[in-house]
Symmetry: C2
Subunit: 238 residues, 2 copies
């Protein structure tokens, strides 16, 4: 029973699941569900995930959604997955769960709200109220500060002082990568103060190559397209 | 090594952890950290949880925060915990993880934003913008709708069609209980349409008695206090 992954590579949790499978030699079929084209809202996809969000998986008859639940499941269901991704040791596992749970209302909420209401606002038809963007940037920066000063330890490359990446590193770095679609100046202002975070992103890319860059290709294309539009807009204004 | 739980019974994730331990015969010391009095911000407490939030635990030297990570850990670390709370079966466990992960950006976000910006706004010094409350109520209602139509199944009492409660039932019901501090009229308007949700709350209370009510005592006291203030306010206006 081949694993089916319903994903959109523009969605950061989708990328985390796809990269995880590639890295761990898990054979899968990728089924693209384009959320900008509202394919996540189709009756067929809602049969897979009634919450109408990507990613979702089907493994035999078993349907599952929520990327962290999927990553936990895959790490346990496929015997070839190395222990560092989601350790069997209870304490090590609990610490990774703690990062993953913290992520939802902190880094993820800040990043998603910021990017969807700035760089992607036109594509998504958003018209944010005056407080939305500054509040999102504040939450994002506070989250990056916590990663820099607490989750990343001295002398180790990955979260929680680990020498090898876990599903938490993959999930959080894919989230931060979404900032690529923002204007360079804004992205540098946001990430600039966090040197350890910047090094950790590079270390995660290296540890997961070549699949990390492969699955981020679509994001880089969107970035290039937005930069071109911005340039055209600037020229028109001139 | 006795488990230490740093908690505030006014915090719904704190109550979920406390009730879970009582139900499963886990011996613990409860250390109250009052978030209204900003005790969560003290340097001593930040040594336990640098995120300055309750609940947190110490088990021997091991410190852990994030209530879902704590519940998962306790269910696995204490051999006396019945399997229904967090099943060892991979598929059953993954489904519970899916509910727990979904919770953060849906039911929890809607409920917390609504209650903290209405009933508890004065205590917490909040002055919400004009869209905050209606958007929070919309998200909360959409989340209750999903619980009613998807997570709760016909003919079974608990989430996911289970005949016994899991840590997801406990976490989500404790969250909804926070609506107790709202005005009766608002609470009825919000919960009224969801008959299965109402029955599930009652079933969860029954399955977890007497500890459920015991740990909700403080919440009922706050509710009574707010009702009295409201009544005094109404009389003054007359």
């Amino acid at each position: 029973m081949k694993l089916k992954i319903y994903a959109d590579r523009l969605s950061q949790p989708s990328r985390a699941v796809l990269i995880f499978c590639k890295l761990n030699g898990i054979d899968f079929e990728e089924i693209t569900v384009d959320f900008v084209k509202r394919q996540t809202q189709s009756p067929e996809f809602k049969e897979i995930n009634p919450m109408a969000e990507v990613p979702a998986i089907m493994h035999g008859d078993f349907k599952l959604f929520e990327s962290h639940a999927i990553l936990r499941y895959l790490a346990c269901a496929f015997p070839g997955v190395a222990d560092n991704w989601y350790p069997t040791d209870l304490i090590k596992r609990a610490k990774i769960d703690s990062v993953l749970d913290w992520h939802h209302s902190n880094l993820r909420r800040g990043e998603v709200t910021l990017v969807q209401n700035t760089a992607l606002a036109t594509i998504l038809g958003r018209q944010p109220g005056p407080h939305v963007v500054p509040e999102a940037e504040k939450l994002l920066s506070a989250s990056l500060e916590k990663i820099e000063t607490f989750w990343l330890k001295e002398n180790e490359q990955f979260l929680l002082g680990n020498s090898q990446p876990s599903i938490a590193d993959l999930s959080l770095v894919c989230e931060i990568m979404q900032l690529e679609v923002m204007e360079e100046e804004d992205r540098n202002r946001i990430l600039g103060p966090y040197k350890k975070v910047q090094q950790w992103i590079e270390d995660t890319k290296l540890a997961t190559r070549p699949h990390f860059e492969e699955f981020h290709g679509v994001l880089y294309q969107v970035k290039a397209k937005l930069q071109k539009q911005q340039l055209l807009g600037a020229n028109t204004e001139t």
